[in-house]
Symmetry: C2
Subunit: 183 residues, 2 copies
């Protein structure tokens, strides 16, 4: 059995591959609490916070420019789906979070596409999702990039984001805004 399976059920696990980049890569300690190239198994009901505050966050960035909780990831299941999806919510009142080119303010949230770039401050995170069978657990794995992730991964918008925040006409690289179809 590989490390990609649940030891009890032998189901494959959804994995979030997260590649990090910061231009000031020589500053010691920024990522020291993260364990790179290691798969961590987490229960899928867990809300995973990223930020500066070690008591509130599962993954800590040791940087005063980062908010106490910068953003959260959580798993959910679409009604018509048997696999896990991922939602991101911006938890910072002072810093916007960009998912590809889409800006999230405080408490805005979107469903992540299978591959996307997150940006906040000078940080860049490439998030790639590999689907698995288990609904009970998922995994994370961190990597580090010595070069900017933007040129290779961030595709341009087909049309600019309108001022009202709607992006129904934008291209397929954008995440799903989940709250526009209120009945």
């Amino acid at each position: 059995m590989s490390s990609f399976e649940d030891a009890d059920t032998e189901e494959t696990l959804t994995c979030l591959q997260i590649t990090l980049y910061h231009p000031d890569r020589l500053q010691a300690g920024r990522f020291q609490s993260l364990r790179f190239c290691h798969r961590e198994k987490l229960p899928s009901h867990k809300v995973v916070n990223f930020g500066r505050h070690s008591s509130s966050c599962h993954y800590v960035f040791q940087d005063k420019q980062v908010s106490r909780i910068q953003f959260s990831l959580q798993l959910f299941r679409d009604f018509s789906s048997s696999v896990l999806s991922v939602e991101i919510k911006n938890m910072s009142q002072k810093t916007s979070l960009f998912v590809d080119n889409h800006e999230l303010g405080y408490l805005n949230k979107v469903k992540l596409p299978p591959k996307c770039i997150l940006r906040f401050g000078d940080y860049q995170c490439l998030v790639e999702k590999e689907d698995g069978e288990s609904l009970t657990f998922f995994e994370t794995q961190f990597a580090w990039s010595p070069t900017s992730l933007l040129e290779e991964n961030l595709r341009p918008l087909r049309t600019p984001v309108p001022e009202n925040g709607s992006h129904s006409t934008l291209g397929s690289t954008l995440p799903t805004e989940m709250d526009e179809n209120e009945l």
Copy 2:
């Protein structure tokens, strides 16, 4: 200043009024950890779990029929909105959660309408949302009903729920399924 405002900013707070009913109302202790007729102020980034497990849940139902975490409520902000919205996610692998007449399986989630009935097992919860100005905090307030909440509050579906879980043709009493408009 009333108790409905944030003491620091004097902004009004979004309030979730939650009225509970269980047919076995004589069983002592079921709701003993809840403080009725009291407004509790919570930070809006908090994910509020309801269930049996006191370490995992902010509001505890002392009942072995209830899952360790039965469901979670969390606040978010629509892109085009200046007020807080509420999302519910079913965290139970064994019990369906009904929001009005819409069934949520494990890790399914919906945005709550301003007034709705939640059901799981024999429990009924009427949730009524009063909008406030603050984005930083919200409040909860619990009440208890001696009689079933269903007849008065649960309006019938206009059409049955199709087997694939889609409900785009259903009436306005249904909550918003937020994940159908993937790009």
